[in-house]
Amino acid sequence: MRITQGCFSFLPDLTDAQITRQVQYCLENGWAVNIEFTDDPHPRNNFWEMWGLPMFDLRDAAGVMMELEQCRKVYGDRYIRLSAFDSSHGWESVRISFIVNRPKEEPGFRLDRQETTGRNVRYSTHAYAAARPEGERYG
């Protein structure tokens, strides 16, 4: 399967040139770009690991792309995403977020059902990869 979180997951994987243009768009809007990675892609895993701090005060996308390159060298077997933070009053949150690196194999999720009272079912989603310890899940 292919996890379709983020803004561009239904398109073919973005090339570095395409990623650079998206980063430049973020910087031109005054947003701080952050690199995050994880090997737990559960849809409610909000807090992916941070690759350093969000890059404030950056003007050129090349800075982000260099960091992304470093991150890929270390965590190329995992999911990596870029997100951009807007600190304007009334937003103060993420403006865009998209996946820029994926594991070679994406085994996906198992849906568990627990039958309870009446016809009610309690659902629980498990990433198959998460059965193994962190750091040993992909590749």
Partner: protein, 509 residues
């Protein structure tokens, strides 16, 4: 002519209309002292409901009415009557006024302008003291402003065009239970419009068949599916069946995609108690969103919004029934007023028009509605039908929903007209896809992502839209097929509700 903050500098007025306005907005005719309270009938404009020198206070609520007096009725008197009948007046002088601070409680019409290019119609600006209204109650606000006056005999027609809600009043309301930012955080979806579809056919599907449509659409790439406004609990599908099968579909689609999904479970019912029961069942099943119809009434809407805030639930509002009073330009209540009331009342989603789809919506007017939903401050923009500066005092943002007769081939136009913080709902445009519902959903999602990518890259996506879509379709057969099927579908009819002011080029002053 009174100088006040409402005299929008961009008002395109010719010298002649300026002179006419000056004539109309002459001095107060109010009878004062003992004579004011002599038993009998006194014209409204002499009772203190016409005060052209009045300077509205920051805490006043201001309403703008479009007044169409009966033939031979003085527009000033008609406007003063609207002020009177929507506040303290009755048809005759009553001595009991003298037991009250009557001057404070009288609504004051302070300006009357002829409507451009509409003979016989007048814009009446009326100020109401804050103490006339119960805090935090749309029912009370609307009972005052539109309660009595719309059937008043001396008027041919009356329309509430816009309202300025003072911060002091805005702060008495909860506002949207969740708001755009928190909704996006909860769903982990940023940087693009959200996608939805209304399950079709509207009526007749069993719970099991209904859940099938939900699953296919969500798995195919939509973020939301939606019950239609008249899906409640009918013989073909009782509400519990729908909820149970829908949540199976939502959870299955989440596991299949790794994304958060939702389906608006319509809890509209015959009593508020029934709605609470349905909402609580939705929560118990793990739904992130419920839905109500505008026809349940303002008080029920506010109750559900309070419930939604307390239960971490997104609250979708379908504006069922609004066109009965919003559509005609001369009579009723403008949708921009309904949008303001609903932002106060506390819903998270509101249907606000598509511009290009099958339902009424002039682009400029629709833009005005969207600004009212999404901005923290709306400057007066007459060309969008927004007559007042409006501060929202950090009340949450309300997500507009575009639904009705839209398809993937219009993606560039939709993004241009409606922006990024909107839910695009392709009902027929998903379920009617020749390759099936999943393919329909995928076509929409691919079209959207391709357009956002192009926009962010700085391309002229409105102009290059068809080309961008064609390119994306090269690697996506469902999109190719969608573009083919709906390529010539447009809904071009004249709007019945448009702004009265059109920006005209003028030399710099």
């Amino acid at each position: 002519m009174p100088q006040n903050e409402l005299t929008a500098s961009s008002t395109p007025t010719s010298r002649r209309t300026l002179a006419k306005e000056a004539d109309m907005n002459m001095h107060s005719m109010t009878v004062r002292g003992k004579d004011r309270y002599k038993s009998g009938v006194l014209e409204y404009k002499k009772m203190g409901y016409w005060e052209p020198d009045y300077q509205p206070r920051d805490t006043d609520i201001i309403a703008l009415f479009r007044v169409t007096p009966q033939d031979g009725v003085d527009p000033i008197e008609a406007s003063a009557a609207v002020a009177g009948e929507s506040s303290t007046a009755t048809w005759t002088v009553v001595w009991t006024d003298r037991l009250t601070a009557a001057e404070k409680y009288r609504a004051k019409c302070f300006r009357v302008d002829p409507v451009p290019n509409s003979p016989g119609q007048y814009f009446a600006y009326i100020a109401y003291d804050l103490d006339l209204f119960e805090p935090g109650s749309i029912a009370n606000l609307s009972a005052s402003i539109i309660g009595n006056v719309f059937g008043f005999k001396p008027l041919k027609a009356l329309r509430l065009e816009d309202m300025r809600l003072p911060v002091a009043y805005v702060k008495t309301f909860q506002g949207p239970a969740t708001g755009i930012v928190v909704e996006r955080e909860r769903m982990d979806k940023f940087g693009r419009p959200l996608l939805g579809a209304t399950v079709k056919p509207k009526l007749g599907l069993s719970g099991r068949n209904y859940g099938r449509v939900v699953y296919e659409a969500l798995k195919g790439g939509l973020d939301f599916t939606k019950d239609d406004e008249n899906i409640n609990s009918q013989p073909f599908m009782h509400w519990r069946e729908r909820f149970l099968y829908c949540m199976e579909a939502v959870n299955k689609a989440q596991a299949a995609t790794g994304e958060i999904k939702g389906t608006y479970l319509n809890v509209t019912a015959g009593t508020v108690e029934d709605m609470y029961e349905r909402a609580e069942f939705a929560r118990e099943l793990g739904s992130i969103i419920i839905m109500i119809d505008l026809v349940i009434g303002y008080t029920a809407i506010q109750s559900m919004a309070t419930w939604a805030r307390r239960n971490d639930m997104i609250l979708h509002l379908h504006r069922a029934g609004h066109s009965t009073y919003t559509r005609q330009r001369n009579h009723g209540v403008s949708f921009r007023v309904i949008a303001k009331w609903m932002r106060l009342a506390g819903v998270d989603h509101i249907h606000a028009g598509t511009v290009v789809g099958k339902l009424e919506g002039d682009p400029a007017t629709t833009r005005g509605y969207y600004d009212i939903c999404r901005e923290d401050y709306n400057p007066a923009r007459l060309e969008h039908g927004v007559f007042f500066d409006q501060h929202w005092a950090s009340l949450n943002r309300l997500m507009p929903v575009a639904s009705g007769g839209i398809h993937a081939g219009q993606m560039h136009q939709l993004l241009d007209h409606l922006g990024e913080d909107v839910i695009l709902q392709f009902g027929g445009g998903t379920i009617g896809h020749p390759m099936g519902i999943q393919a329909g959903a995928t076509a929409n999602r691919v079209a959207l992502e391709a357009m956002i990518l192009a926009r962010n890259e700085g391309r002229d996506y409105l102009y290059e839209g068809p080309e961008i879509l064609a390119k994306a379709a090269e690697t996506c057969t469902p999109l190719k097929s969608a573009l083919e099927v709906w390529k010539n579908v447009t809904f071009n009819y004249e709007s019945t509700d448009m702004p009265d002011y059109v920006p005209t080029p003028s030399v710099a002053m």
